[in-house]
């Protein structure tokens, strides 16, 4: 493991533990890990919890307006986490917003995705946006793994700039079953319920 990656993992272990609980044995098959989102550390927490083997081919999906700013953050995003950038603000951007994510899945990577699109304030996630549905429809073989991040909203709530140490367990659930001809709304609600069920 590269030094900076080791430091980041060590910081996450010390601050929040970020230990994984797997409901089903982890698999290195291409997966989308989708989780509730409450803090700036969420990406790192899941990344640390995955462990070195799964981490090697998992790429977090990161908002360019946050992660591509500042020398250190950009270095971590690009060189350590190997993120897939997405544009949250669509003005001035042409084309399919999901194209970089689809390309990453195409080449066999797994993704870490926060389907709410923004950070919430409470323990339970808000409504999911349609990105997860569109990706799932385009990649029927990819495993859709719900993830619940416990306590992260207490460690670094929205509006704070420093974390406090609180033990945050990362719970990985069983992959979502695929249901043929399911509507977008039904799928997104089922995906959200799968995350809530882990809470």
């Amino acid at each position: 493991m590269r030094p900076l990656a080791a430091v980041l993992c060590g910081v996450m272990r010390t601050l929040v533990g970020a230990h994984a609980r797997w409901q089903e044995p982890p698999s290195s098959a291409p997966s989308i890990y989708f989780a509730n989102h409450t803090s700036h550390m969420d990406t790192l927490a899941i990344w640390a919890a995955l462990g070195p083997r799964l981490r090697a081919h998992t790429r977090p999906v990161a908002a360019r307006d946050y992660w591509d700013r500042g020398a250190l953050r950009r270095h971590v995003a690009r060189r350590v986490l190997n993120v897939v950038f997405v544009e949250r603000h669509r003005e001035g951007h042409e084309g399919d917003p999901l194209a970089p994510l689809a390309a990453a899945l195409q080449e066999g990577s797994s993704l870490i995705l926060f389907p709410e699109g923004t950070r919430g304030t409470g323990p339970l996630p808000g409504a999911f946006r349609s990105g997860l549905y569109n990706l799932a429809a385009r990649f029927p073989q990819v495993r859709l793994v719900p993830v619940y991040l416990e306590n992260m909203h207490r460690s670094m709530p929205k509006g704070t700039f420093v974390p406090i140490p609180v033990i945050c367990t990362v719970r990985f659930g069983a992959p979502l079953a695929r249901i043929a001809a399911e509507t977008r709304e039904a799928f997104l609600e089922r995906a959200r319920a799968a995350v809530v069920a882990l809470a």
Partner: protein, 312 residues
């Protein structure tokens, strides 16, 4: 015998004890019949394995000197406080007080021991922190459950930082005729508290019949407390040669440590039940969390420190 030689004798004794424990543990594992017995023995053996690791960590810290010992106890306070905060409901307005507790109070408290400033060490948390932490929370402007929230943070910091820090604070004491051996006094305190916990567990498992306080701590028994407590007091008395005490004084001090350790375990069990959990965490295999291991120490250390300071 010099302090160094005493230390090696002690380590030899502890390692022998652990070897015997590991041997007994593996014999019991081979003989365990029922499902319940196997579970108890498996837990016993993970406890013994964790003891090897804990003893190794402490031996390294002791040999590396006082700074390493302080850093080790600072880390223990950090992880114990992290467990306490995790299980205690807090609100957004507690963010700054909690941040200060972890990243200002813990380093400061141990730094004060390091630079030998006894006067501030003794009042930093019960005076300054107890007033400033609630004030900072009040500035955040959220009166919801304010008294309970303040009390919880104060109690958390008191037990996990202030009380635990009294163990390495023994290095501050300047006892005539005992120069350069203060680390052995830390060892003595740890030995008696931990032996008391272990022996109460062993006596409880072997002879335990009468539950002591079933609503607070379902595993503590009268037989375990009396048998284990007296045995640990005797062990402490027999260790008088590493302390500045006479045999009788060592026996009396050990008795106080055992009683306070028991009260610490019981009180923190009550806190656990009130928070609705069985263990503080899962950091130490078989034992639970960091706080499950230092609960007795946190009550015994300050009293032992002040009695020693008063009498010697």
């Amino acid at each position: 015998m010099s302090g160094q030689q005493k230390f090696y004798w002690l380590m030899g004794g502890v390692v022998t004890l652990l070897l015997v424990a590991s041997l007994v543990g593996s014999l019991l594992a081979a003989r365990a019949g029922s499902e319940a017995a196997r579970a108890v023995i498996a837990n016993l053996n993970s406890r013994i394995r964790a003891w090897w690791v804990m003893v190794a960590i402490f031996a390294v810290a002791f040999l590396a000197g006082p700074i390493a010992t302080l850093a080790l106890f600072g880390a223990m306070s950090f992880f114990a406080l992290r467990e306490f905060v995790t299980l205690t409901p807090t609100r957004r307005a507690d963010h700054v007080p909690l941040f200060l507790s972890f990243f200002v109070l813990i380093p400061l408290q141990y730094a004060l021991i390091g630079c030998g400033w006894y006067g501030l060490f003794a009042i930093l948390i019960p005076v300054y922190a107890f007033l400033i932490l609630p004030a900072v929370a009040a500035l955040a402007g959220d009166p919801e459950g304010f008294l309970e929230r303040s009390a919880k943070i104060q109690w958390a910091v008191m037990v996990t930082v202030y009380c635990v820090s009294y163990t390495p604070a023994l290095l501050l004491l300047r006892i005539p005729g005992y120069e350069g051996q203060d680390a052995l006094l830390v060892f003595f305190l740890l030995l008696v508290t931990q032996m008391s916990d272990v022996l109460q567990y062993v006596f409880g498992k072997l002879f335990g019949r009468t539950l002591l306080a079933p609503t607070v701590s379902p595993s503590k028994t009268v037989e375990g407390l009396i048998g284990g407590g007296l045995a640990a007091t005797a062990v402490g008395g027999a260790m008088y040669w590493i302390t500045p005490f006479s045999p009788l004084e060592a026996l009396a001090m050990s008795f106080v440590i055992v009683v306070m350790g028991f009260l610490g375990g019981l009180s923190l069990s009550a806190v656990k039940r009130s928070l609705g959990v069985k263990d503080w965490g899962a950091m130490i295999e078989g034992h639970g969390g960091m706080l499950d291991r230092v609960d007795s120490l946190s009550f015994a250390a300050p009293i032992f420190f002040h009695l020693t300071r008063y009498f010697l």
